[in-house]
């Protein structure tokens, strides 16, 4: 009898021990976190998944590069015929409250935070992982994820936050630093700024040994067919991309000193050949096949396998009678690429010659049109941050007096095939931004930062007066209700 009980007790004990393992069920039709993050390659896939998802139409695949935010930045002539232009007229009039735009803004918000959550899941797991990473990979993965998180928050802040220079203590957005099932509270713009800066600084330290600093962008596959993970550094949030983001955010937060410091560091890297200015032969030498995005200057780009959709869906003149996005003719010929010393505009500008192609009476924007050489990595790039912006940041932040920055602008212009400016004003700087960054989703943020009228047209009466109603997007209702 006693034996029986002993035996039963023993079996029970055995079962209890094995229970936990037995109950640890892994789904087959989904990838469980434990399984995914049990190896270095799992982390790499997750990180890459975030990069890929940034190409979503709700983010930099359209809304935050060529479409929504660029319309808000006044880049395009928007017609009034609803059957052609749909809801775009509402957006150009900054009617953020319509059902359509509320839903669209909501989508972008949700998607951005969904990717922030992915970053946070990666970061939280990598901090406690026992997986052994080869080389410097752990630091690189962690650094990139941190920087991506900061970048997404920064763009959300620039959309939904207050006009920073006027009202840094106004409530802006929540900053999610870890995965949580309870909502984080909304922080003020300056608190968010501090978080962004902190994340970027930490990322920069983690990426200190980024091979981009020694070997450049390595924008081609390794010859031996080994892992591409540490190649194509310009398609990743590399050390200089983080530095450039610090420059961009520093300027936005009014910290000109750091903005200048970081911009200079990237410019220095450009000078060292890591991000060389575009070879003018590639631009002007073969007009059929120009490098329209000046790929060598791009510090960080997304890689979108169907990037020509950006052209086909928005800029292609063959879209007519459907809507086509293009710049106002007068704005282009009188101010942006004309207007002489007052604007610095010149039709010799490479940025005009290769990117703006005439069809009929209008010129259309070809930046995202594929190079003939199909399959070229350059044809997949959506620039997120580029060297030109660093020159402009440096020009603006080198001194309290904007005029002092003219040398930086001239250095850039020299590589754009146009002559020197005699002096620099805020107006001219804005035109330079338009010329350099058109179609990259940065103009709205620039106007917001400077609290300047958005240039839809050469007629100032057609351009909206700067106001919070123009520059501050309303938070999604899911945020305010819950």
């Amino acid at each position: 009898m006693r034996k029986v009980f002993t035996y039963i007790a023993f079996v029970a004990l055995m079962m209890l021990c094995s229970c936990d393992a037995w109950l640890d069920v892994k789904p087959y039709d989904k990838i469980s976190e434990d399984e995914l993050l049990s190896s270095e390659s799992g982390y790499m896939k997750l990180l890459n998944g975030i990069y890929i998802e940034l190409n979503s139409d709700m983010l930099y695949g359209a809304a935050l590069s060529v479409e929504m935010v660029e319309i808000m930045g006044g880049a395009y002539v928007i017609g009034t015929d609803n059957s052609v232009w749909g809801n775009y007229a509402d957006l150009a009039a900054y009617k953020y409250g319509t059902d359509y735009w509320r839903a669209r803004i909501n989508e972008t918000w949700n998607k951005a935070y969904a990717l922030i959550l992915n970053c946070n899941l990666l970061l939280e797991n990598i901090d406690k992982t026992t997986v052994r990473f080869s080389g410097d990979n752990l630091k690189v993965i962690k650094g990139e994820a941190l920087a991506l998180r900061a970048m997404l928050h920064f763009d959300l802040l620039r959309l939904f936050g207050p006009v920073y220079a006027h009202n840094p203590e106004a409530p802006a957005i929540p900053y999610y630093k870890r995965y949580s099932v309870t909502p984080n509270e909304i922080l003020t713009a300056s608190q968010v700024a501090a978080e962004i800066t902190r994340d970027l600084n930490e990322a920069r330290i983690l990426l200190a040994n980024d091979p981009v600093r020694t070997s450049g962008t390595m924008a081609s596959a390794p010859a031996d067919g080994s892992s591409t993970f540490m190649y194509y550094r310009n398609l990743r949030m590399n050390y200089f991309a983080v530095t450039a983001l610090l420059a961009r955010s520093g300027l936005y937060f009014g910290d000109k000193e750091s903005a200048f410091k970081y911009a200079r560091e990237v410019i220095q890297a450009g000078d060292e050949g890591i991000f060389p200015f575009v070879d003018r032969n590639l631009v002007t030498g073969s007009p059929d096949d120009p490098d329209r995005i000046f790929s060598s200057e791009v510090i960080f780009a997304l890689s979108h396998s169907q990037r020509n959709k950006l052209f086909k869906n928005y800029y292609d003149p063959s879209r007519i009678p459907n809507y086509v996005f293009r710049m106002d003719n007068d704005l282009m010929s009188n101010l942006v690429f004309g207007g002489g010393a007052m604007t610095g505009g010149n039709q010799d500008d490479y940025r005009y010659r290769v990117n703006w192609v005439a069809t009929g009476a209008n010129r259309y924007f070809y930046k995202y049109s594929d190079m003939v050489d199909s399959g070229n990595i350059k044809n997949t790039m959506i620039p997120m941050i580029r060297l030109g912006e660093m020159y402009l940041i440096a020009a603006e932040s080198c001194s309290e007096n904007i005029g002092a920055g003219v040398a930086y602008v001239n250095r850039l212009r020299a590589n754009r095939g146009v002559g020197n400016l005699q002096s620099l004003t805020e107006d001219i700087l804005r035109y330079e931004y338009i010329r350099e960054m058109y179609g990259e989703g940065q103009m709205f943020y620039m106007y917001k930062r400077m609290f300047a009228p958005v240039l839809f047209s050469s007629l100032s009466s057609k351009n909206p007066v700067p106001s919070d109603a123009v520059f501050v997007l309303p938070l999604p209702s899911s945020e305010t209700d819950n």
Binding site: M1, V4, A12, M15, L16, C19, W22, L23, D24, V25, P27, Y28, D29, K30, I31, S32, E33, D34, L36, M44, K45, L46, L47, N48, G49, I52, E53, N55, N106, W109, N110, Y113, A114, L115, I116, L117, N118, N120, L121, I173, P174, Y176, S180, V181, P183, N184, A221, T228, F229, Y232, L235, S303, H304, S305, I377, P476, S478, E479, D481, N482
Partner: protein, 1012 residues
């Protein structure tokens, strides 16, 4: 073997004779109480000595007894001891000794599926029903009958699906414990009770398919003391079903058949006739052109005149009769059983063919089962094997489409053919065509499913000693279902599509494999005649693996030839569906009971559950319960009175949990972002955010109750008061988008429920010995729930409810889950025809403000239950059960959507008659409803909240059990017939359309039972 045994027995007997020296010889036979079958190997011992014998193969014994008086003890494992005093004079009474198995009489035993306990010494709240009781009130399925027998067991009436035999009902015991959102999100009903069939967990569908004639008993376990043994699955209550075990004896064949007829109950439909509909349309301005175009007005006039002409010709089509039919049901069960003490066997075959009241609505089942019981010495092996096959078809055009069709259209054209459209606008007219429901119904469309299942349950029992029993169980179920639908390319749904995209075929395959094992030790002993100790301890594990595959195909070009291979291809951008879930659970449990002199009872349960669905942080959970009881009728001071045969007070507390949740909600899962890869290869992103800290939903459950039987068993009462506190609730909550997900499963708030149940059975005539009993039963149940500590967690649900057209459920602290929220209405202002609202502060206003919402009713009735009577007179039995509901309200959506709120789209559908009458106008200022308008939106107000009191004739039956002599004359063992009518009438205080997609049915069934 048997011979050796006989020799041994006789040897043994001889030895004892020698040893003792004879004085008196007691001779007799020991038989089983249930079937009179002899029991072999019963030990017959003179108490206080070790002198005794055991019975032989025929159950016979001879015992020599010394002295004048001695106590003789008959004992047999698994049976109650029989102790008889021998006094020299009563030797004759020893000729036939009847022994009952421990758990034989179901009346007195509570079967929990894990252990059995005498009802008298059980402290939980439970109800047990035997097959006769179940069959008397209904024949469709076990659950349908349970609903009529126990008011705490509720089958939710589905206004949408009516009496569709292929839609599984929602079932609740003692109300809901879970917040909405879970079923929608995960497809599992979180309020569904646990079903146990022959000791193994099973599904609702299995129980619904189970032929009632196979059932021996059903026990409903309600409170913590009775359910806690099932731990974290038990908070919704447990339904324990035992199928019949084969009886001993010569081979016996029995047949049971049910033959039923159901008819659709369309009395809740109150649709307009042709003339009324046209008048309504005219008043609503359908035939008035607003653009000022004279040609358009002319066309509309023509259209109206055309319709009017048709009406004058006598066209008044009653569309509702088209899709319905008398539903014939027949079910048969044949069971052959037999065997002797050692081996018993039963082989059964059941066929069921349920015809619904809509055409093409069938449910055919075929079930075969083999039961084997082998008993040798201290071991018993029993095995139940069943195979089932299911074939289901559903109508492809919903009933609603017929209800929408206007009565001024003809069904058939002049040639007697079905037209594609009832109305097709001329070219250039901006109007929609009206599809003919008969057209879509006459096409070669189908919606069908087949299933095949296999279940084998094996139980091994070792009766180690009289007190100690070891039981091991293993059950395996494999179920494969295949669902297919097909829509013909001629279906009007595809009218706007290209020729090669028409038609649709979908296929879904569901494969399920479940296994469950259990090892338990049971101990039961009466110590010193006063201390009854019972204990059960065991280990249980289960594994449930389910895979679903599916795909669809389009591009059929022909109506007739419907093989999937004729499809043109897959829908563009469609990928195959695949999902899989694996749920595992492992548990240890222990139950103990102690009774002192059968008077003071105490029970406890403890269970440790581990489940794969719960996060690593919360993988294991404890369930406990304590129950106490006091059998007052056993007290010495009550012994003198025979008045009470049962007077028990009991109380229990425990914390059973709920596990009806999705398999992986505690874990974060990832997926490939398959739409793009890059130079770095593939990427993965989050698919679903898990909540590793998700706590198990648990319900602290208090119950106090009393069981009374008195006045010579004529009055039987059970009273229960319970209090449930579910904390935390587990809910799917919508979150701020900044969390990165839009919904998350989390713990939020609590729910408190209080309620009582009472069941009374009075027998004004009680002469069981003559077979004459008249019973009157009344039972009632009532409960009230409220949310607590939910704060703002459900703000999003509240907001969407407020902005929706009909949503009247809100989630606030203190609010009832069943409350109806709406703005109070003072009615229609006679002067203006506008609705006058009452604001929160009591002032009146013509403007509707959703923030003035208050509770204007509660769908939970104050009290509901059944009143029944049954009469047994010799072989004849008559029963009648009425369901009553009182004190609840309902938001009358028929009035809200089919009288008011008829928009420019809905006006083309046929509507409730009331949409035409009692409408406000200059000449009818005292109307209850607003004036006819197609553009005015009516908001939810108390005007549409009505008292919902009802009385339903749920079951009427009459049966006759043929007396033995007649049965024998017919060369039958036994024979009975019964006629059952269900849902015969329905009297309600409110008229609401029910059975939107499928009508409700009334049915009558003739049942026949024959034993050969």
């Amino acid at each position: 073997m048997r011979r050796i045994l006989a020799i041994l027995i006789s040897l043994f007997s001889i030895c004892t004779v020698w040893a003792q020296g004879a004085q008196t010889v007691l001779k007799g036979k020991v038989v089983d109480a249930s079937d009179g079958y002899p029991l072999i190997g019963v030990s017959v011992i003179v108490s206080g000595t070790n002198h005794g014998v055991i019975t032989d193969v025929d159950g016979l014994y001879e015992l020599k007894v010394n002295g004048e008086q001695s106590e003789i003890v008959f004992s047999y494992i698994g049976y109650e001891d029989v102790v008889k005093l021998y006094t020299q004079k009563n030797a004759g009474s020893f000729s036939r000794i009847v022994m009952s198995a421990n758990a034989e009489q179901l009346d007195d035993v509570v079967v929990t599926g894990v252990y059995e306990r005498k009802k008298e010494s059980f402290t939980g709240a439970s109800a047990t029903f035997k097959t006769d009781q179940l069959k008397a009130v209904g024949t469709s399925n076990v659950l349908q009958s349970l609903k009529t027998l126990d008011p705490s067991f509720k089958m939710m009436e589905s206004s949408q699906f009516g009496s569709n035999p292929n839609v599984m009902p929602d079932i609740e015991i003692r109300g809901k414990t879970s917040v909405a959102g879970m079923k929608e999100e995960y497809g599992t009903d979180p309020n569904q009770p646990l079903f146990i069939l022959d000791g193994f967990e099973t599904t609702l569908e299995t129980i619904m398919n189970l032929n009632m004639n196979r059932v021996a008993s059903v026990t409903i376990l309600k409170d913590a003391a009775s359910t806690a043994i099932y731990g974290s699955k038990a908070s919704n209550g447990v339904v324990v079903i035992e199928t019949k075990a084969p009886a001993r004896g010569r081979l016996q064949l029995s047949y049971k058949g049910d033959f039923g007829l159901s008819l659709a109950d369309l009395s809740d439909y109150n649709l307009m006739n042709a003339r009324e509909k046209l008048e309504f349309e005219t008043l609503a301005g359908v035939y008035k052109d607003n653009t000022g175009d004279p040609f358009a007005q002319m066309r509309l006039d023509d259209l109206r005149n055309e319709r009017l002409k048709e009406i004058e010709r006598g066209v008044d089509t009653y569309w509702l009769s088209e899709p319905i039919r008398p539903g014939f049901t027949h079910k048969h069960n044949i069971y052959a059983e037999g065997g002797e003490d050692k081996i018993r066997y039963g082989i059964g075959l059941s066929i069921g063919n349920v015809g619904g009241v809509m055409k093409d609505s069938d449910r055919r089942t075929l079930e075969g089962n083999v039961d084997l019981i082998y008993r040798t010495g201290k071991f018993q092996f029993s095995n139940k094997l069943s195979l089932n096959w299911l074939d289901v078809t559903n109508p492809t055009v919903s009933f609603a489409e017929y209800a929408y069709a206007n009565p001024y259209y003809r069904k058939y054209n002049a040639d007697g053919k079905v037209d594609r459209y009832l109305y097709y606008p001329e070219d250039g007219v901006d109007d929609y065509p009206v599809a003919n429901p008969l057209w879509n119904a006459h096409l070669n469309n189908w919606d069908k499913a087949t299933g095949f299942g296999f279940t084998n349950n094996f139980i091994f029992e070792w009766f180690v000693t009289k007190e100690l029993r070891l039981r091991a169980k293993f059950g395996l179920t494999k179920q494969d279902d295949d669902e297919q639908t097909r829509l013909s390319p001629l279906h009007t749904q595809f009218d706007d599509m290209g020729e090669t995209e028409k038609g649709l075929y979908t296929n879904t395959q569901i494969n399920e494999l479940v296994y469950e094992g259990d090892v338990a030790v049971t101990f039961g002993k009466l110590i010193a005649k006063k201390h009854m100790v019972n204990a059960v301890g065991g280990f249980n594990f289960s594994n449930n693996h389910r895979q679903i595959y599916g795909y669809s195909a389009t591009g059929f070009t022909d109506d007739q030839f419907d093989a999937p291979s004729f499809a043109n291809g897959y829908p563009v951008g469609d990928s195959p569906d695949y999902s899989e879930s694996l749920k595992r659970a492992a548990s240890f449990y222990i139950n103990g009971g102690y009774a002192y002199a059968e008077r003071y009872l105490i029970d406890f349960n403890y269970r440790l559950d581990g489940a794969s669905m719960f996060g690593t942080g919360n993988r294991f959970r404890n369930t406990w319960s304590v129950g106490t009881g006091w059998n007052i009728h056993k007290e010495p001071f009550m012994q003198n009175s025979d008045f009470f045969s049962l007077l028990k007070l009991r109380g229990s507390v425990g914390n059973p949990g709920n596990q009806n949740f999705s398999a992986y909600q505690a874990f974060s899962t990832y997926k490939f972002n398959g739409w793009m890869t890059n130079v770095f290869g593939t990427g993965v992103i989050l698919n679903a955010l898990g909540n590793a800290d998700l706590a198990w939903q648990e319900t602290t459950n208090y119950d106090v109750g009393a069981d009374l039987t008195f006045w010579g068993e004529r009055i039987n009462m059970t009273l229960d008061y319970y209090w449930k506190y579910t904390d935390p609730l587990l809910a799917v909550i919508s979150t701020p988008g900044s969390m990165g997900v839009t919904t998350v499963a989390m713990n939020a708030g609590a729910q408190k429920t209080r309620g009582w149940e009472a069941a009374l059975r009075v027998s004004p005539v009680y002469r069981p010995s003559e077979g004459i009993i008249w019973n009157v039963t009344v039972n009632a149940t009532s409960s009230k729930s409220a949310y607590a500590n939910i704060g703002n967690s459900f703000a999003a649900l509240n907001e969407s409810g407020k902005s929706s057209l009909v949503g009247t459920t809100r989630y606030y602290d203190g609010g009832s889950p069943t409350a109806i929220w709406a703005v109070r209405s003072a009615g229609i202002d006679p002067a203006t025809g506008k609705e006058l609202f009452i604001k929160k502060d009591g002032t009146y206003s013509f403007t509707y403000d959703v923030n003035d919402e208050v509770v204007v009713g509660d769908t939970q009735p104050k009290v509901e239950g059944l009143i029944g009577t049954s009469l047994y007179f010799k072989g004849l039995s008559v029963g009648c059960f009425l369901r009553y509901r009182w004190g609840g309200q309902v938001f009358n959506s028929s009035l809200f959507q089919k009288v008011e709120n008829i928009g420019t789209q809905e006006v083309y559908n046929n509507q409730d008659k009331r949409a035409l009458y009692d409408r406000w106008s200059e000449t009818n200022r005292d109307a209850y409803f607003k004036g006819i308008s197609l553009v005015q939106r009516t908001e939810k107000s108390s005007r549409f909240v009505m008292d919902d009191n009802s009385l339903v004739g749920e079951s009427f039956n009459i049966g006759y059990e043929f007396p033995d002599r007649i049965a024998r004359r017919m060369r039958l063992g036994a024979m009975n017939v019964q006629l059952t009518m269900t849902d015969v009438f329905r009297a309600t205080s409110v008229r609401v359309e029910r059975g939107i997609d499928y009508p409700f049915a009334r049915s009558v069934t003739m049942s026949l039972g024959i034993t050969f």
